[in-house]
């Protein structure tokens, strides 16, 4: 790597004062690269998706870092976009070389595409949950961040407390060949709250909204306010109902506890009424089994009889032989997870890295697959394909509306 002459931020700004009338954060790549320390460790930040979660997501991205917000982007900024601070098109934001960090708080149908585009533009990302709208998106995000060695953190942080650390250690050790653990989560999934309203009538598009851009990769359907602004959660085109909203919060820590960041269940069954084609609706429970026998259950408590096939069962030290218990004692404890800030500074993966986030959100997508098809799903966690059910597989990787694609 050729060395660059060190230039102070002040001299640079003086030199460019005639050309620039806007205060400019000198891009980090100008002043420092690997092995060099920038005079300022201030990052250029941007928020894409400035609705209800925007401020919170941006704040999470900034924790532990010095960040100056240089751009805000939202499809409802048609009346205020100046392509300097306010944008409607995220591609213009990603074009900017003075922006290093992207917080994404759009509806979920945009999460994967914008995350990937950000990595392609050399940015690090903190993205709201759910990470994706369908399974293949997650794999594409993993591939993009690996390709460009960028940092990604999903916007849920329960795993950072390292819940169930002993269980994690047992499960991660490889010593437990058959797992009899059964974890049941009851309630808290906002199923009815985020059910959609079907059969909407077309409404005029608000003047400040770029509806085509909002729809993006999803079908261009007539505008209705309920497809937008929080209640979008109730429409398969944009999200996955209550599971989409709460599921990654609930199951990401559980996935860490059981050391399943690199695999997925192999059998998924739902107890639910027939699903509507357009809107998310009620469901009862979903049972998911991993290849090693671990069972995770989502029991909404909002439809039908409660799950009663199995009782909860913890993974215990006594599940191991005495000999294996001794081996476990000699193994290191789980390491602390890296925050986004630590990951950005060290260029090592964050605790909520793409593979982990993808596997966690896959739990929700598999659950919704079982709910939407009404069938027991058999899943190959290596190929990431449903086995023997072409119709279900069409939901694993869904073609997008041009020009958007994975």
């Amino acid at each position: 790597m050729p060395s660059k002459p060190k230039t102070s931020r002040r001299k640079f700004l003086q030199a460019s004062a005639g050309a620039a009338t806007v205060f400019t954060i000198v891009p980090r790549h100008v002043l420092g690269g690997p092995g060099q320390t920038a005079p300022s460790d201030t990052f250029g930040g941007a928020l894409i998706g400035c609705g209800g979660r925007g401020g919170g997501t941006y704040g999470e991205m900034c924790k532990g870092l010095s960040v100056q917000q240089l751009a805000q982007c939202d499809v409802k900024f048609v009346d205020r976009a100046d392509n300097k601070m306010f944008y409607t098109d995220f591609r213009r934001v990603l074009d900017r070389k003075d922006i290093d960090l992207i917080a994404i708080a759009t509806p979920p149908h945009w999460h994967a595409l914008i995350s990937i585009a950000a990595a392609e533009a050399g940015k690090d990302v903190l993205c709201e949950k759910p990470m994706t709208r369908f399974i293949a998106e997650g794999r594409a995000v993993v591939a993009a961040f690996e390709r460009y060695n960028r940092i990604f953190q999903i916007g849920t942080f329960g795993r950072f407390g390292r819940p169930g650390a002993q269980t994690h250690k047992i499960m991660a050790s490889g010593l437990l060949k058959t797992c009899e653990g059964v974890h049941i989560k009851r309630g808290g999934l906002k199923v009815k709250e985020w059910s959609g309203t079907p059969n909407l009538s077309p409404q005029p598009v608000p003047k400040n909204l770029d509806w085509d851009m909002y729809c993006g990769p999803s079908p261009l359907k007539p505008f209705d306010g309920r497809r937008f602004g929080g209640t979008h959660r109730g429409y398969w085109d944009y999200d996955g109902g209550g599971l989409g909203d709460m599921g990654q919060h609930a199951y990401d820590p559980i996935q860490w506890t059981f050391a399943k960041d690199h695999t997925s269940p192999v059998e998924i069954e739902a107890h639910a009424p027939p699903a509507h084609p357009e809107v998310t609706g009620l469901w009862g429970w979903v049972e998911m089994k991993y290849a090693d026998g671990l069972t995770l259950v989502m029991d909404s408590g909002e439809w039908g009889k409660a799950y009663d096939r199995q009782e909860p069962r913890e993974v215990k030290l006594s599940d191991l032989s005495v000999e294996d218990q001794e081996k476990l004692k000699a193994m290191p404890e789980p390491e602390p997870l890296r925050t986004f800030a630590e990951a950005v500074k060290t260029r090592q993966p964050a605790g909520g890295h793409p593979e982990a986030a993808h596997r966690a959100v896959t739990l929700l997508h598999l659950a919704n697959l079982a709910i939407r098809t009404g069938r027991k799903i058999k899943y190959d966690p290596v190929k990431e394909q449903v086995i023997g059910d072409d119709e279900a597989n069409r939901l694993v990787n869904q073609p997008m509306r041009a020009p958007w694609h994975l």
């Binding site: 079908p219 027939p274 098809t373």
Partner: protein, 282 residues
């Protein structure tokens, strides 16, 4: 009972408009019974069901229930071991598309066909690629079908397509990794429209087309968003080539990026190329 009376009875019994009305197991099983009755009733009744579906602006309870019942039937026949039922229902929906239905109703039918259409329905869907409103839905249904039957329909209409329809067709040829369209895509890689160029270059990269190396590299020698996207396509093409055993072609791409991404702002691209280059040598 006459078909329309039979259908009326089914609709009356069907809960709706959302699944909130399906309150328990018994109601859920009732819906499954209604679906079975619908499928057993034959193509004429299915056609009559489609006739109940109206434009969203004019939606009624009957329309809402008809849509839900139709979808429940589609999901039911999409499962394993129901091939003949799937074909029957998909054929009935395809036949309805050929009738004079409004575009909104046609869109509803195509979205159901996205679940269950097979190669035998590709021709009917292909005809809709020239319709500005229906092109996107039809193309996505073809992408779900996959294979030569779907790709042939896209290829056949590429030359005459314009604007968004042309872009849609190019993209889904890329999605299907249709090597037979490589020549047309290489032409489109030099189009006057930037998005067409970006899409065509990506499509060539996604299919791992060895003859496209120089085209893709040249396309990446530009500025702004197009440079970033076409650089991505360079890396994607190299990965596909390496997977396909064309390691020398892959290395050519990586070396080119290594040499041309000298600005500090593109260090991450250069580093990506260097990592991948090292991996192809090991």
């Amino acid at each position: 009972m006459k078909p329309n009376e039979q259908l009326s009875a089914l609709i009356k019994r069907f809960p709706g408009p959302s699944n909130h009305a399906i309150g328990d197991d018994a109601a859920s099983k009732e819906v499954q019974s209604l679906v079975a009755e619908l499928l057993a009733s034959g193509d004429e009744t299915i056609g009559d069901l489609v006739d109940l579906i109206v434009e969203p602006a004019n939606s009624t309870t009957e329309d809402a229930k008809a849509r839900f019942l139709l979808h429940a039937a589609v999901v039911s026949v999409g499962g394993p071991g129901k091939e003949s039922q799937r074909k029957q229902l998909a054929a009935a929906l395809t036949a309805s598309l050929a009738d004079e239905v409004s575009r909104e109703v046609a869109a509803c039918l195509i979205r159901e066909l996205q679940w269950i259409a097979g190669a035998e329905h590709a021709t009917a869907l292909g005809k809709l690629l020239t319709d500005e409103t229906l092109c996107d839905d039809a193309a996505r249904a073809l992408a779900n079908i996959g294979g030569e039957a779907a790709a042939a329909q896209l290829r056949e209409r590429l030359d005459k397509a314009e604007g968004k329809q042309r872009l849609t067709i190019l993209q889904h040829l890329g999605t299907l990794r249709d090597r037979k369209s490589a020549e047309a895509l290489q032409t489109a890689a030099a189009d006057a429209d930037a998005q067409v160029r970006i899409t065509a270059v990506w499509a060539l990269a996604n299919m791992g087309e060895p003859s496209a190396v120089d085209v893709v590299l040249k396309a990446a020698d530009t500025e702004g968003y197009e440079r970033v996207q076409n650089t991505k396509s360079c890396l994607l093409l190299a990965e596909r080539l390496a997977e396909g055993g064309h390691k020398n072609d892959a290395r050519k791409i990586y070396r080119s990026l290594q040499e041309t991404r000298s600005d500090a702002s593109e260090a991450y691209v250069r580093e990506a190329a260097e990592r991948k280059l090292a991996a192809t040598k090991s």
